[in-house]
């Protein structure tokens, strides 16, 4: 991927600008400028809570002679990060036509282990084996990033104990349950020199020695000696530090986050302009009305919009109202 910062002649006029300072497969640090605080925070919030990923949501236990209770194990399984790249191809289970779950809305993983040796046995995420028809080869595979390649520990078995279960991983967002969170921690700050006086240092003698400086002090000009306080200044440059917990790459989290915002905004715009076109009905409507397959649906708080590949975001990133200011989807980003 090409992470070169966008080179634009007059970035000011064009809208938000992103400058990436560090990126690897766990975290990305970047600066977002030329945006306002509410937008910057929205992006942070969406990256924390509204990016659809997949996680184990249903566990069918056939045999469990371990010491841990069924729901205890199910809870632990749910928290195992699964690869969510390509999750957009999966339907939300509630939107799927099937009765319970199917390969269009879920990924099935099975776990079958029995301790036959004389020593206690550790069962880790590696032992989860995908089963059944799959639309995508990597989607729903446990994310394993430790050196031994084991992944998170699920439970331990004593000699003779056995565990046999089927896990159904479904798509969801972190607002519903934290297991669907793609990100671990998201660092976010602005104004490293406190020029805006949004914070009020408390110190005993000298704030310079008592407070560790922000890591972004070098990015911005320190206030000049005796510089008058600018009452009209608003925050403009925001520093993010996005760390992934595994399901998506750090870049994926950011792009997906933007995509979710776009969808939400598009949904909102659509709602506001509804009378001018689209549906005949222009009164207030409940979420059920908006659903269905027409694609112009109501966006639920869980980010679903009709389940289908939406008209906005996704591939094109074009709304009926022309190109969104935030880049033409994939073009500028990837």
């Amino acid at each position: 991927m090409d992470y070169d910062p966008m080179v634009m002649d007059d970035a000011e006029s064009l809208g938000p600008v992103v400058k990436i300072s560090q990126a690897d497969n766990v975290r990305v640090k970047f600066e977002l400028s030329n945006a306002d605080l509410s937008f910057a925070n929205s992006l942070r919030r969406v990256m924390l809570a509204e990016i659809p990923t997949i996680a184990i949501d249903l566990v069918e236990i056939e045999e469990n002679s371990s010491v841990l209770a069924d729901e205890f194990i199910a809870h632990r399984l749910g928290l195992i990060p699964l690869n969510a790249e390509g999750a957009e191809s999966l339907l939300y289970s509630r939107d799927c036509d099937c009765d319970n779950y199917c390969e269009h809305c879920s990924v099935k993983l099975v776990l079958h282990a029995k301790c036959t040796g004389g020593e206690n046995m550790s069962i880790s995420a590696r032992d989860l084996v995908p089963a059944g028809d799959r639309m995508h080869q990597t989607l729903g595979m446990p994310v394993i990033r430790d050196e031994d390649g084991l992944g998170p520990l699920i439970l331990k078995l004593r000699p003779g104990q056995e565990i046999k279960l089927e896990c159904i991983a479904k798509k969801g967002i972190a607002k519903e349950h934290a297991k669907w969170a793609p990100s671990a921690a998201i660092g976010f700050e602005y104004d490293p020199h406190n020029k805006l006086h949004h914070i009020d240092y408390w110190y005993e003698q000298d704030p310079k020695t008592e407070w560790p400086p922000s890591e972004y002090v070098d990015w911005e000009e320190p206030p000049a000696e005796g510089e008058p306080f600018d009452y009209d200044a608003v925050p403009n440059r925001f520093y993010y530090n996005v760390e992934t917990s595994g399901p998506l790459g750090p870049d994926g989290i950011v792009t997906e986050g933007i995509k979710v915002i776009q969808q939400k905004l598009a949904g909102l715009i659509h709602e506001l302009t509804e009378g001018e076109g689209g549906d005949n009905y222009d009164g207030p409507r409940s979420p059920e009305y908006g659903g269905g397959g027409d694609g112009f649906g109501y966006s639920t708080s869980y980010g679903g919009n009709g389940g289908n590949q939406s008209a906005w975001g996704g591939a094109g990133g074009t709304t009926p109202f022309g190109q969104t200011p935030y880049g033409g989807g994939g073009n500028t980003w990837s």
């Binding site: 809570a49 209770a69 934290a178 671990a184 976010f188 890591e215 760390e243």
Partner: protein
Amino acid sequence: MGANDDGFEALLEPFYNGKKLTDPISTKEDKYQLLPAFLKVKGLVKQHIDSYNYFVEEDIKKIVQSNRMIRSDQDPNFWIEITDIRVGMPTRDDANELRDAGKHVTPQECRLRDLNYSAPVFIDIAYPRDRMRVVRKNLALCRMPVMLKSSKCYLSGANNRKMQEMQECPLDPGGYFIVGGTEKVILIQEQLSKNRVIVEKDDKGVTASVTSSTHERKSKTYVALRKDRIVLQHNILMEPIPIIIVLKAFGGMSDYDIMELVAGGDTVYQDDLLMSFDEATKAGVYTQQQALEYIGLRVKMGGARKGRTFGGPRRNPIDDGLDALTNLIIAHITIKDSDFYPKAIYIAMMVRRVLMASHNEKLVDDRDFVGNKRLELAGQLLSLLFEDLFKGFVATLKQQMEYFFKRPNRTAAYDPTGSIGVNGRGITQGLTRAIQSGNWTVKRFGMARAGVTHVLSRLSYIAALGMMTRISSQFEKTRKVSGPRALQPSQWGMLCTSDTPEGEACGLVKNLALMTHITTEAGTDAVEELIPNLISGVERIQTQTGTEMHKEGSYIIHVNGTPYALTRRPEAFAKAFKQKRRSGCVSAFVGIHINQHFSAIHIATDEGRICRPYIIVTNGKSTLKAEHLRLLQLGKVGFEDFLRNGVIEYLDVNEENDALIAISEDDITPAHTHMEIEPFTILGAVAGLIPFPHHNQSPRNTYQCAMGKQAIGAIAYNQFNRIDTLLYTSLYPQRPMVITKTIQLIHYDKLPAGQNATVVVMSYSGYDIEDALVLNKASLDRGFGACQVFRKYSVEMQKYRSGRKDRLGGPMIGEDGKPIAKHRCLDKDGLAIVGSKICQGETMILRETPVDQEAHVDGSRGSDEYRPAPVNYRIADPAIIDKVMISDTERNSQIIKVQTRQTRRPELGDKFSSRHGQKGVVGTIVEHEDMPFSDTGLVPDIIMNPHGFPSRMTVGKLFECLTGKAAVVSGHRELGFGDAFRSHPVEEMGRTLIENGFEWGGKDYFTSGITGEPHEAYLFNGPIFYQRLKHMVQDKMHSRSRGPRAVLTRQPTEGRSRDGGLRLGEMERDCLIAYGASQLLLERLMISSDATQVDICEQCGQLGYKGYCQTCKGHGKVTKMTMPYAAKLLVQELISMNVGVRMQIEDKFPDPEPALPMRPKKSVHA
């Protein structure tokens, strides 16, 4: 892990608690390492176990020894002698050799099968037959409940592997009993010391009293100063007896001798006593004979002497007096060869104490002084009970024997072996019943105590541990005296200063401190032998006159409170005695102290004294050297070796007063005699959980001591094998980030109850007022505070006299071929399926009971029908069947236990607390993205309102947070220590934080998750150990519109368990009255409660029936009205007591259509 891993494996490792062998040892820093060594030997509940061991190994033999001979009154040639008694190892009562071959009963089996963990007791007897002495050995007498981890328990000395094989937790403290499957603790009982003189002063005057306790009886003797005259009082005496008469009755003393014995050469005391001499003269008592007669005439008949004079003629008063003096008054001084001098000395001493106290108020004793208290433990209590029961056994055995010999024609020689086991059952039952009910009745002492035993609380590991160190006091809880409740300076180091309940039992229920030891009886023989030979110039007291005793500079040596010898060199004597004790010639638990006020040396060997080890300091230097600690570290020596080598010794509370104890090595001066091993041991096990307790306001530590016992955590390693009535476990218990050495020593780090929450101290959302907490939803999703609740439902399949038994039925099948909804969870055998979800009203055990239960005399068969008697799940929230157990009890009936499990995540209103007495409920649960976050993206688990700090002054919590944060950010967990009374390394923590890029005070830059703007102020944050407490909304929430009513009053039932109504109480009623909301009042108190229609006769004012008045014999004047059923009931109940009640009715609003409810007017005619 070592082969004999008893939880002290750290001691065996080359790295002892993080210290390498090559590290230098400083006696100043490392002396605390004696503490684990002490606990390794003594353990936390060693008091209980020591006391029980002493009982089953020694005391029980002594009891039998003193009751060994049973002689027949009918046949003087026949006797039974009980030569020996032994307690075996625990067995099943229903022992079956085939089944049990090689397998012994384990405590866990007893818990599960509702058995008693008890061992058979065997006796050896001898009796004559045909002029031969027949010896019968190993006759089973009874069964003795066995204390866990005592010498008679299979768990004693078991290593981890064995413990695991027995499904037992290696960290379990033991020291309790298992009776009927429940774990019972005999609490430590606090009492005033026995056989010691206590001088008290009240409005009436000064009184010296002594409670004499011997194996036979317990009685209290008073010597009191009443209106300048000294008298002796005792239960057996009808009236107080002038003291001179008593002293004269002992004989062998002239008036001068008596005067000298009491007052010595002191003229003030002599003058005081002269008044009492007049009393004797007035009563006409001059000689011993007269004195004995005087006393004998005032001895109550009956009572203790009833048995002995049974059937015999009334003896003359002189004999009565002599008998009273010999056996009843001050009974613990035994009379040998009719020598009353020791008793005279004792009474004279009491008189002298009274006189001294009347002149100098400071010489009055303090009954709250810990040195005047004795702690009674399980062993002693059992011994009292056993002796009583054994005496009863001997009596019935004798009765049966006499019955046999009374028979004119006997067919065979008498053989007592058969009746031993039968009569011994009484002992078994007596013991188990006492432990089960907690009612301790010892007939010969007239002792009847309730609440001696308690069910061991298994709410958390700490709750169980805390119970083992609990001391309950005999004081009445209702009495409003502050003395016994107050913290006593002499409690230092012996009893925990923080751990006491709030409310009515405050200060009366105490807890042992960490290093406290309670003595067992050491025996006086060795000491008595030693005293005359220790230094020169020690004379036996019997050979001395009063003149010599009370000479200036003479010190009386008392052994267990009884004058024994005389010396003029008290200091030299005490020094020599201590030397002997340090060298091991006398028991380490014998105490000696000098009382300068009374010129007395007291040597104590009795049981129940509280003592504690100290490091000996000589010539201003600690005897503990670095090489000692090195050897300890190498595991070459133990605590006992230090005790033997004079490095350490035990001091009891009295002896402490003679010692000057330094807290640390730096404080030592040449005057010091001892040094503390570790100051934090003045706290107990439960208070030891608190980090930095010395920075908290003291009541906060007390609150935490109460709450630590309610925290949900790991119970024991065998928690999933247990089936308890109610069991709470935590899904993810964590070792606290900031621990104390006590935590390591009691293994709380292995069985913790709480989690390290990242806490930010700020105000958020307004749902955090009044100590409410704000929780992060994502944290809850990830398992923060999640817990499991296990409940037991148990049923015993009864057998009936008709020969039928309860049985299990199959589920009822509905029309669709599936079981009916109520039986959804049942398997074919009528028991719930493990793993199935059970909802309210569904059946777990489908028991069926025979209709025909009574025995049939005529041999006919009753009905073959069974009616269902199922056990249903009654709780509103569903649960999952966790276990089903089927077994047999000792009564050979089947027992079925079903355990249900609920997994709960914290919800609004659940209770949490930190370790600093700061409890709070969940006020709101907030989405992750709305939570404040630091510049690194850190989001708190808990937001706590800062208003919790100023008034509570829990600085320790701030320190915990800071210390924990420093340990976390640096990755060095050895930083996380918060021991009491150690200097707090706040500066070091600040430095660590700065080194890791944090602010030194623990505050950080936080941004609002809602707006994205930074919080103006920096926020104090860090990990704080939070405990989830057992109080959960799910178990408490309750509402009702309509519902069940009580049968008697027809008012709504009370309480959640009965789906009761919410009471509109007196105070609420007062408000409504004051406001004048009469209709609301009427509705709440009558219409919505127990309104009922009654017929009242306007003519006679009595209740009618169906429009007819029984009294007036007519329908004419009977009207209907509404009134509370309770009022109607009252009227009827009064009538039943012959109190006539008439109700006069009048129309307040004479409308054509009167309103329905009318106020009845009542007038009562007696």
